[in-house]
């Protein structure tokens, strides 16, 4: 790992990303690794994500669970960031009646905002609580929202303003999509870049040279609720 520590982690992951983007999409497999020992619970990933995707109230694509552990005087804090697990066997895509949510050939689970009927079955089926219903609320409490609240978030690279009926996410299910609109432009996910402790790693696990591939091959890596058989693509380093 010394070679890794010599260089800036973001620079390494950026180089990995550029390499992955040169491959055909079906040969990539995006994944994320979160080092729980490094996470300081600053919520920079959560707020970064919210500003990137312009998420409305009560919708967090990447919340961070905080837990107090131990008993006084031997106490401590434990943090668990939870993005969408981008499962290889997702329960959400299985239950969507109109295939509005589906797994792309690079493994990302996405939502077609123009197809979602807003039945919320995927919210019920997701064992991670990673999906939210956009019911059309605004932080300002305004009925139509302030100008900056209705701006195009650029999610999936094609959504338009919240005021647009057909492409607006209002009425739909929403979730983390590994900032696919950034990744396809050669930028790392927002949570990766905003992480103060460099605890979040992102990359293509089909690339044996990628940093994330090396990290997840260690024995101190677990997956959240792996026993459910959803094959999550978010790895936790413990």
């Amino acid at each position: 790992m010394s070679a890794i520590e010599d260089k800036d982690i973001l620079e390494i992951m950026h180089a990995d990303l550029q390499r992955a983007l040169k491959k055909p999409r079906k040969e990539r497999r995006w994944a994320m690794a979160i080092d729980l020992k490094k996470c300081i619970g600053c919520h920079a990933c959560t707020t970064g994500c919210m500003s990137e995707n312009l998420t409305p109230p009560d919708i967090h694509y990447r919340p961070v669970k905080e837990e107090e552990i131990g008993e006084f005087p031997n106490t401590g804090m434990r943090f668990l960031p939870r993005p969408c697990m981008q499962c290889d066997a997702p329960s959400c895509t299985q239950v969507c009646p109109v295939t509005a949510t589906y797994k792309r050939d690079d493994g990302l689970v996405v939502i077609d905002y123009e197809k979602c009927i807003g039945c919320r079955y995927c919210l019920v089926a997701c064992p991670y609580g990673a999906r939210s219903a956009d019911v059309g609320q605004y932080f300002t409490g305004d009925f139509h929202g302030k100008t900056y609240e209705v701006e195009n978030s650029g999610e999936y690279g094609k959504t338009s303003k919240r005021t647009s009926h057909w492409r607006s996410p209002i009425g739909n299910a929403r979730k983390c999509h590994f900032c696919i609109h950034r990744v396809e432009k050669g930028e790392l996910t927002r949570c990766t870049t905003t992480c103060l402790a460099s605890a979040t790693y992102f990359g293509d696990i089909n690339d044996p040279k990628a940093l994330i591939t090396k990290l997840i091959s260690k024995s101190n890596v677990i997956k959240y609720k792996e026993e459910l058989g959803t094959k999550p693509m978010v790895y936790y380093i413990i």
């Binding site: 969507c96 009646p97 295939t99 197809k115 807003g118 219903a133």
Partner: protein
């Protein structure tokens, strides 16, 4: 008057009823139902115009609330009407035949009322056409839509057949098998969700079938009781009384099994069964099933049949709400201000949707009854 062999209310009787209505002699329930529809329409309008964020209390934590419960309730009542029709035809033909067209008609009307409630819960109801052009065969919801369509189609054909005096055994059996698949699909929509222990069970589709039969039969029993009172033919209520006892006993067994399985498990999410144990026993078993059963065992009059059926209809509605909402009581992931237990209380707009659905069923049935639709059909049926 007939259109392609199907009876429709005579124009003269419709006009007569309308003039009675204007004079204030339309019947109290009709006026109440109209007021209910007006308020309910306001609720519907508000939900569609203002949006879910400003009108309803469902959220990412409680994705399904009162409207979905109402849909499930009416869908099951509709299914129950069909089961009652089948069993009535098979085992109580003579006593039942006068009520066949009413029962099937109620099956249709309740299905429509349920769908109206569902429509108000969906984020984009206008995209429902995607079920046809972009189906997902792995989704229980997709299959439910397929079978629900088949179910309503069968109901329509059965209704037309009854009115045209066509008696088809094949159709009768089909109208029994299709609803079983339909309401099992509805049950599996909930029962197949492994992430929600309160739902997750192979018992749930069977529970749905029997509780649907109970609710549907209770509605038919009320109609039969009023019809028996009006005609003085008390024999009409016997099949419904007997069926209601069977349905109550079956649902009692299934509810008991469901609670026992829930209490025995240690999986995360199953604690809801422990936390709601007394509520389930007192309201879900004693008030909802034992009391109506005891009434039917001891009193055999039309009045008590109506009382028992009203209790069943109300408690089954509460049971559907409990089933849908309690599933979300234990959140699957907690962060920030998400409490350990989620409490949900429907908004006034959600309640208005229920009011609209109930009023719709009551109004359509009573107007059709008062204008003689079933009277004409019944006289000549079979």
């Amino acid at each position: 008057m007939q259109i392609y062999g199907v009876y429709v209310p005579e124009k003269e009787r419709l006009l007569n009823y309308f003039s009675l209505f204007k004079q204030g002699k339309g019947g109290l329930v009709v006026y109440l139902a109209i007021i209910g529809l007006v308020f309910g329409g306001f609720g519907f309008g508000s939900i569609f115009i203002l949006g879910h964020g400003h009108t309803i209390n469902t959220s990412s934590l409680v994705p399904w609330g009162l409207q979905i419960s109402t849909y499930v309730y009416f869908a099951l009542v509709s299914g129950g009407c069909i089961f009652t029709n089948f069993i009535g035809n098979m085992f109580f033909h003579e006593k039942y035949k006068h009520l066949a067209s009413r029962v099937i008609f109620m099956g249709l009307v309740t299905a429509i009322a349920g769908f109206a409630s569902l429509a108000s819960e969906l984020g984009h109801v206008e995209r429902m056409y995607l079920f046809m052009i972009s189906p997902n065969p792995t989704s229980p919801m997709f299959w439910m839509s397929v079978w629900y369509t088949a179910d309503i189609s069968i109901l329509l054909v059965e209704y037309v057949n009854i009115q045209r005096h066509v008696h088809s055994k094949a159709l009768l059996y089909t109208s029994f098998v299709i609803p079983i698949i339909t309401y099992c699909s509805l049950g599996s929509l909930f029962g197949a969700v492994g992430t929600m222990p309160y739902y997750y069970s192979s018992l749930l589709p069977i529970y749905f079938l029997f509780s649907g039969f109970l609710s549907g039969n209770a509605l038919c029993a009320i109609i039969a009781a009023f019809h028996a009172k009006a005609t003085g033919n008390m024999k009409l209520i016997k099949p419904f009384m007997r069926l209601q006892k069977i349905a109550l006993a079956s649902v009692l067994v299934l509810t008991f099994c469901r609670i026992i399985i829930g209490l025995a498990s240690n999986l995360s999410g199953y604690e809801v069964f422990r936390e709601t144990f007394f509520q389930n026993v007192i309201f879900g078993i004693v008030c909802a099933l034992v009391v109506p059963f005891a009434i039917l065992m001891n009193k055999r009059t039309t009045g008590w049949l109506i009382v028992s059926s009203v209790i069943v209809l109300f408690t089954q509605f509460m049971a559907r709400l409990d089933l849908v909402v309690e599933g979300f009581r234990v959140p699957v992931f907690r962060a920030y201000d998400i409490p350990e237990r989620i409490n949900y209380f429907p908004s006034i707009f959600e309640m208005l949707v229920v009011l609209a659905s109930v009023s719709l069923v009551a109004l359509i049935y009573i107007v059709c009854e008062k204008t003689g639709l079933f009277e004409i059909a019944g006289k000549e049926t079979h």
